[in-house]
């Protein structure tokens, strides 16, 4: 399979470069010859296409076969416990299609039928309950768009510019419209009187897969905006995103968004599971570590141009495009620099951002054909300004793995090709 994908993507790339050469030659000016695509009758304008019975559920057209999740084989010992990356260099708008949204599994993606699904709520509740999938769908539900970012997104960059592609440096993120039941309704159904003072209580959430991934969430958050979701982007969750039911923990690190959610336990302390001690803690310069660092801070990145998405044309009008998000709320502003952070211009937000959701930004500019050092810098509604790599390292050192929300730099050469670099 991989080989097939690789070679077809290679073909796609070659086709792309041919088109690029043509475009550069034409240069936006008058074409010397009439275009045969227009003057000659094309097959598709004469012969009929596929019928409506051909594709009961479709995949993207073959020409987009390059827009796929990719993984970095050397990162982990086994793809069953590993991560892949969303092709954000090739997407636009804000919603991530499920089929190419990044996956992180600790023991592989399991197949769990709705009929076999059970959700237990136990611990410090008045009545421990078991719900079937059908039960969940009978609670009042809501729809929200939220980003889900792995805490390790951009983690490779702590040690310096390493991976050449925004898919690899920033692709552990997706953004979907979820349909689900507010967790607080399920907790209320089980009753929280027994828990007493809720301010120091927790819920421990756990998945049904073999890794039994579990995380402790403070009750305050659990009663706020956490959702027990069963649909994403209008359709059932895909297997790899936790079918039939996953947790959505807005603004907080992806590991807490437990997939194949099977149990919710009200406790009087954090469980301190492996995923909140050994992993997802941040080692500082002096060797002590921060724990319970749940929120994903404001961050932005330019998705195009970027190493996997070079400028396909010569000087002239250029759209610089990217994504910004904040686990603290809304993105209020994104600035873009073309000279490595010396001077900045404020970008146009594609849509006034939703809270804890991806915001698209555009800088509609004129490229003079010279080299550029592209950067983006996000601000959120708390006034927080996305820090530089140096600023982050000054506070945290370089021993960290997680929560790297630094400003990213792409070096763009005169041919429009981009490379991941670090600047002074």
């Amino acid at each position: 399979m991989d080989d097939i994908n690789l070679s077809s993507s290679r073909r796609a790339f070659l086709r792309g470069s041919v088109a690029l050469a043509g475009a550069t030659a034409a240069g936006g000016a008058a074409a010397s010859q009439p275009d045969p695509l227009i003057t000659e009758l094309q097959d598709w304008a004469s012969i009929t296409g596929e019928g409506v019975d051909e594709t009961p559920y479709g995949l993207p057209i073959e020409f987009e076969s390059d827009v796929i999740r990719r993984n970095v084989p050397w990162l982990t010992a086994d793809p069953i416990s590993s991560i892949n990356f969303t092709p954000i260099h090739a997407l636009d708008g804000t919603i991530t299609p499920q089929g190419c949204a990044f996956e992180r599994h600790h023991s592989g993606a399991i197949e769990l039928r709705k009929e076999d699904y059970r959700l237990m709520i136990n611990g410090l509740v008045d009545t421990p309950l078991v719900f079937t999938y059908e039960d969940i769908e009978r609670f009042p539900r809501e729809n929200h768009v939220y980003f889900c970012e792995c805490a390790a997104n951009t983690g490779m960059e702590w040690a310096g510019a390493q991976l050449n592609g925004v898919q690899f440096t920033h692709g552990m993120i997706h953004n979907m419209e979820y349909t689900g039941v507010p967790l607080r309704l399920l907790l209320k159904e089980a009753g929280l009187d027994r828990a007493g003072d809720l301010s120091d209580k927790w819920v421990y959430v756990e998945g049904a897969d073999a890794s039994s991934n579990g995380r402790s969430i403070p009750m305050e958050k659990a009663l706020d905006d956490v959702i027990v979701a069963f649909k994403a982007n209008g359709e059932a969750l895909r297997k790899e995103h936790g079918y039939p039911v996953r947790l959505v923990v807005p603004g907080w690190e992806g590991n807490m968004w437990v997939k194949w959610l099977r149990r919710i336990e009200v406790t009087d302390m954090a469980v301190e599971s492996r995923e909140e001690t050994s992993k997802y803690t941040d080692v500082l310069e002096d060797g002590t570590a921060r724990k319970w660092t749940w929120v994903m801070d404001a961050k932005s990145v330019i998705t195009s141009p970027s190493p996997q998405s070079p400028i396909p044309h010569g000087p002239g009008p250029l759209v610089i495009s990217g994504l910004a998000w904040s686990g603290h709320g809304k993105i209020t502003r994104v600035d873009v620099s073309k000279d490595g952070g010396m001077n900045w211009e404020t970008a146009r937000l594609g849509k006034q951002g939703d809270s804890k959701a991806l915001t698209r930004f555009y800088l509609d500019t004129e490229w003079d054909g010279e080299e550029m050092l592209l950067q983006a810098r996000a601000m959120d509604e708390t006034g927080y300004v996305q820090p530089t790599k140096d600023a982050l390292r000054e506070v945290r050192g370089e021993n960290s793995v997680y929560h790297n929300n630094c400003i990213q730099t792409w070096f763009v050469n005169k041919d429009g090709e981009a490379e991941n670099v670090e600047v002074s």
């Binding site: 309950l129 719900f131 609670f139 507010p182 209320k188 159904e189 089980a190 951002g353």
Partner: protein
């Protein structure tokens, strides 16, 4: 339809309307006008004749109830405005239970609620010593984590790494990093061995944890861990953690209005990704590479043709549909077994030519004594023995080190056998 429509707050038609409008505009003023209107109406009713008094009283009650609800909706609306767009109006608050779900049985809770808290709550009674732990670890864990928990290849390291936490590449192990022993017990019990989670007995887990402690110089070799002395063990890095810190150390300094022009004197490139070049190959390859790939396929085709025919005699030609189903079932096996060309041993042996061959006969794999003996006694793998083994490995062959819960369904056993039959004649 829910049993009692009154459970949902906005079920009263008028209320729902008021609430809807109040939310839709998210505006305090609007809510106030609504209240005024309601109050006016109530006052008008009050000045009416005596026989209207009873009705008026009800109206007042309703109005008061509405006021309370509007307060609530305002609070929710304010919250929604603060925390951004919901695509739906907020779900109604539940005044009383919806009566959904059923009460959990104690047995069900006992089966699923097995997490262990830092103070030891949740630990089952039991014990295990370092020696036993070493044996159990060698059987179930060492293939990936190494005989001394030092980690094989890219698999996690579980021991050592002391005094590296302040280095650039800290080695975070159970010994050097984990603050609580409960986490080790809990994780091994619930999530390991990889591919055979939740198959270890409680005593085996105690023994393994004792061994991991020993590998980390935390206990002596004659140590026995039990639920009784569990809380006495002191972890090296118990005091190594602080809660959060960004709110005080970072947010205040990163909230200044950012510089927009002439922000620095010069800009130099200090590092480039192309220098390390660790990006997986995707696009940037020329045509020549593609051409180079082709000849490689020739030898493998030849090998398949030359494959010994005897093997296939043991099993009928696999039904392609069944084999396809078996490929899916095999996902349960692939964390421990590889098949196909160039497959290598993992925790379990390569399974290319397993059907029709002697038990425990693949070169270069260290089998358990139990399996080796079964092979030496002339046992072979055929559809029947394989199905029996896969149904419950440890029951079929006491002492096998295949930590796998078993394939309970006959169809799955047959399907995976059919799938494995498609690898007969594969080298390796």
């Amino acid at each position: 339809m829910s049993k009692s429509p009154n459970i949902l707050v906005p079920a009263l038609g008028g209320t729902a309307l008021v609430l809807g409008v109040a939310y839709g505009l998210s505006s305090r003023e609007h809510g106030d006008t609504e209240i005024e209107l309601l109050q006016d109406r109530v006052e008008q009713v009050l000045v009416q004749a005596d026989d209207a008094r009873a009705q008026a009283a009800t109206e007042v009650a309703t109005a008061n109830a509405l006021k309370a609800e509007i307060e609530d909706v305002r609070a929710t609306a304010a919250l929604q405005v603060a925390s951004g767009g919901s695509l739906t109006q907020p779900a109604p608050r539940l005044v009383e239970s919806l009566g959904l779900g059923r009460e959990a049985h104690q047995e069900e809770i006992a089966a699923w609620d097995v997490d262990v808290l830092p103070d030891g709550r949740g630990l089952p009674p039991g014990k295990g010593d370092v020696y036993t732990g070493e044996e159990v670890f060698a059987t179930y864990c060492a293939a990936c984590h190494g005989d001394f928990a030092e980690g094989v290849d890219n698999w996690p390291v579980l021991a050592g790494g002391f005094d590296t936490l302040a280095d650039k590449d800290p080695v975070k192990t159970v010994g050097s990093y984990w603050p609580y022993l409960s986490t080790v017990w809990d994780y091994v019990h619930r999530s390991m061995p990889f591919g055979g989670a939740q198959t270890l007995t409680d005593d085996e887990v105690y023994a393994i944890v004792a061994y991991i402690l020993y590998s980390n110089d935390l206990v002596d070799d004659d140590f026995e861990l039990s639920h009784e002395n569990f809380m006495d063990v002191e972890m090296h890095n118990a005091d190594g953690f602080v809660v959060e810190g960004r709110d005080t150390e970072e947010y205040p300094i990163w909230r200044d209005e950012p510089c927009m022009s002439d922000c620095k004197d010069s800009v130099d490139i200090t590092m480039r990704a192309s220098v390390l070049d660790v990006t997986p190959e995707t696009e940037e390859e020329g045509e020549d590479d593609a051409a180079l790939e082709l000849p490689q396929e020739t030898p493998s085709t030849t090998t398949v043709q030359e494959a010994p025919v005897i093997k296939t005699a043991a099993v009928a030609t696999p039904d392609p549909e069944l084999a396809a189903a078996g490929k899916k079932v095999f996902r349960k096996c692939q964390s421990c077994h590889a098949v196909g060309e160039g497959a290598k041993h993992k925790t379990g042996p390569v399974l290319n030519n397993v059907l029709g061959s002697q038990i425990a006969s693949v070169d270069g794999f260290k089998y358990s004594n139990a399996l080796t003996e079964a092979g030496a006694a002339g046992g072979t793998w055929d559809a029947e023995t394989l199905a029996a083994f896969l149904e419950n490995p440890k029951k079929y062959l006491k002492g096998t080190k295949m930590a796998f819960a078993g394939l309970k369904r006959k169809e799955d056993q047959e399907a995976v056998a059919a799938y494995l039959a498609t690898f007969l004649g594969n080298p390796g």
